[in-house]
């Protein structure tokens, strides 16, 4: 195994092509006149839905959603919204198979593509973002950035072990290019923007 390592690295040190400097990337990347409105449009364009509310109305806003109403097993990691599955009591992620709905706090949204960044810092099992039938992500509306360059500037990779940009519900077009929402992951994705 070590042989292959040195063999690969040695051959990569031979016949070096001329190196090119790394671009600085301080270009003026895309800015939107109203990033929050753009974010909402982007979420809808990727098959998701958005809600906007005041912090005090968060529980009510989520409670009014049909996915909340119809879900029996709910995981919530958002303060003020009660779930009925306690992640801390679940040792094996497989036990989350029949969770209908997960409600989790995202860190920020990206206007250009409707993606929400979320890491597993507050989630004991990251599968909780992928295995439920429906997912609701909550982000403060002031935390919407214009583009992916600003997004990565906000992420500290020293801190987390796993993080994901989620843009809309799970989808596929592998059968004749027909878009089907709900491939393996969430069948629906709501993003709630809290003012």
């Amino acid at each position: 195994m070590n042989d292959s390592r040195s063999q690969i690295l040695n051959s990569l040190r031979h016949r070096l092509p001329q190196s090119a400097p790394l671009p600085t990337m301080d270009e003026s990347w895309i800015q939107f006149p109203d990033p929050i409105a753009q974010f909402r449009d982007s979420v809808v364009a990727v098959g998701g839905q958005t809600e906007t509310c005041k912090a005090a109305d968060l529980a009510d806003t989520v409670g009014r959603l049909t996915v909340f109403d119809e879900s029996k097993r709910i995981v919530s990691t958002v303060d003020g919204i009660a779930g009925n599955v306690d992640l801390q009591q679940v040792a094996d992620p497989h036990d989350l198979e029949d969770v209908h709905l997960a409600i989790a706090l995202g860190q920020f949204g990206v206007a250009e593509n409707g993606a929400v960044w979320i890491d597993d810092h507050s989630l004991r099992h990251r599968v909780v973002l992928f295995i439920p039938q429906h997912v609701i992500l909550v982000i403060p509306s002031r935390d919407v950035v214009h583009n992916m360059h600003e997004a990565y500037r906000r992420i500290d990779f020293a801190e987390n072990h796993f993080g994901v940009f989620i843009s809309g519900p799970s989808k596929t077009a592998d059968i004749e290019q027909s878009l089907v929402i709900g491939a393996h992951g969430a069948r629906s994705m709501h993003v709630v923007l809290v003012d």
Partner: protein, 459 residues
């Protein structure tokens, strides 16, 4: 891979079904137009492409340092790094890890590298079941085929055929062909596979030297489900997947999905920076010919490829000949550069499966000079004596005529007479492959040279 890949012969079989060829062509063109709309919506699109090109040029020049930095940072995070010189070693390493954990069932998300290394048959021969979890890949796996496209593995299959396959293997209703219904059936079937898997294998879209982490992009969420239920995650990557800084991800995540399917970003862009609680995370770095490619100044830019598939979707030859006619894990324009680098004799026809229209170069998000490299490959194949006899002698004849003006003139005047007076059955004999679907032009009475001279005399 005993016999040589004969792209023209395989394409001939593909185009025999005219309606299907048209359908295939249009399906891919539809994806290409989605890409165009997405690209046009980004005002700095060309800046992004240039930036990506520069980053990748830096990567290709500094691969050794970047890989070492990546290894160091990954190890510090508890990720176990393995190195494999070729596909065989890669498979052996994966098997060893799986055996150590007594793994019986593996779920795998899309990874062209594991296709390239033929990992599935290897693991199956060692009593480990492998289920491909990307819907398109599952379809081709159940049908005993290989993907015909790197992003859209089942683009060559009609929904009615998917219906038949699922009826046979998953027990869906006979005759059902509704994509919604079939996808739901696959969801249920694959959930069972996810639940019983002992390990998850994924590919790698980008590995970050600066942080020691890596990124996997999917739309279905299959990679994430596959590695967040079982405790063991093995990620397999070609060594060219390296990028220096995590800031570079901004450029590539903006380009990748827009170029691939016209989406602004993939649904799930997952960043792995360490094993799960009580879990293990392994990464296998694979060479398998890539260092040789890196040493070749003619073709090293092809290592910048981020596997978006845009060059396939736009290629007039790919769209009308199907991915399988390339007999290579990566088909289309980029595949026609990578495959002969692996074996110029086996894949000698691929660089000729190209009209040199340059459309691939125009859409490539990292600005690989695809059609130039394809042209270079043609010369290279002749130089390596990999041309078939018919082409070799044809080229020599043409070269002999074109080098001698008097012979060229003579040949021209003979052709003008010959083409006019030779009976059709001789002119369109078996030897004239070009004339099989086409009529030769009516020869002009005079050559250009004659006409030019007369014109000059007049003025």
């Amino acid at each position: 891979m005993s016999s040589k890949t004969d792209h023209p012969a395989l394409a001939t079989v593909f185009v025999r079904d005219e309606a299907r060829t048209k359908w295939h062509d249009e399906a891919l063109w539809f994806v290409r137009t989605k890409r165009d709309r997405a690209a046009a919506a980004v005002p700095e699109w060309e800046t992004l492409r240039t930036t990506a090109e520069q980053i990748k040029a830096h990567v290709v020049a500094n691969l050794a340092e970047l890989l070492e930095r990546f290894e160091q940072n990954a190890a510090a995070r508890g990720i176990q790094v393995h190195w494999a010189s070729d596909g065989e070693e890669h498979n052996r390493i994966v098997l060893e890890i799986l055996k150590k954990h007594n793994v019986r069932h593996v779920v795998k998300s899309k990874s062209m590298l594991t296709e390239e290394c033929h990992l599935n048959p290897y693991l199956e021969a060692n009593d480990i079941s492998v289920v491909d979890t990307d819907l398109g890949e599952r379809i081709v796996q159940l049908r005993g085929e290989s993907p015909s496209h790197i992003v859209l593995p089942a683009i060559h299959i009609k929904k009615e055929e998917v219906g038949e396959t699922f009826h046979e293997h998953l027990g869906t209703d006979a005759g059902a062909s509704d994509p919604q219904y079939l996808t739901e059936a696959a969801r249920q079937h694959l959930r069972e596979q996810f639940m019983k898997a002992d390990a998850g294998i994924t590919g790698v879209n980008f590995a970050i030297a600066e942080t020691g982490g890596f990124v996997v992009c999917t739309n279905e969420g299959n990679a994430d489900l596959g590695v967040s239920l079982p405790g063991l995650h093995i990620a397999c990557m070609g060594l060219e997947k390296m990028i220096p800084r995590y800031q570079d991800l901004a450029v590539f995540t903006r380009l990748l999905a827009r170029s691939a399917t016209g989406q602004p970003i993939t649904t799930y862009t997952s960043h792995f920076h360490g094993p799960r609680e009580n879990g293990e995370l392994h990464i296998v770095i694979v060479d398998n010919g890539r260092t040789d490619l890196r040493s070749d100044e003619n073709f090293r830019r092809s290592l910048s490829c981020i596997r978006c598939g845009a060059c396939m979707n736009t290629c007039p030859v790919y769209r009308r000949s199907g991915g399988h006619s390339y007999q290579s894990t990566v088909p289309g324009p980029i595949g026609s550069i990578l495959a002969p680098a692996r074996d110029a004799h086996q894949f000698h026809t691929l660089p000729f499966a190209c009209s040199l229209c340059g459309s691939c170069t125009d859409v490539c998000p990292v600005k690989i000079d695809l059609h130039h490299e394809l042209l270079t490959w043609r010369r290279e194949i002749a130089r390596r004596n990999a041309l078939p006899r018919s082409k070799k002698w044809g080229m020599r004849l043409a070269s002999a005529v074109l080098r001698r003006p008097w012979l060229y003139r003579l040949a021209g005047s003979m052709a003008r007479i010959f083409l006019r007076w030779t009976p059709r059955w001789i002119l369109y004999s078996k030897l004239n492959t070009w004339g099989r679907q086409r009529d030769l032009p009516v020869p002009p009475a005079k050559s250009f040279r004659q006409m030019y001279r007369e014109r000059q005399k007049r003025s």
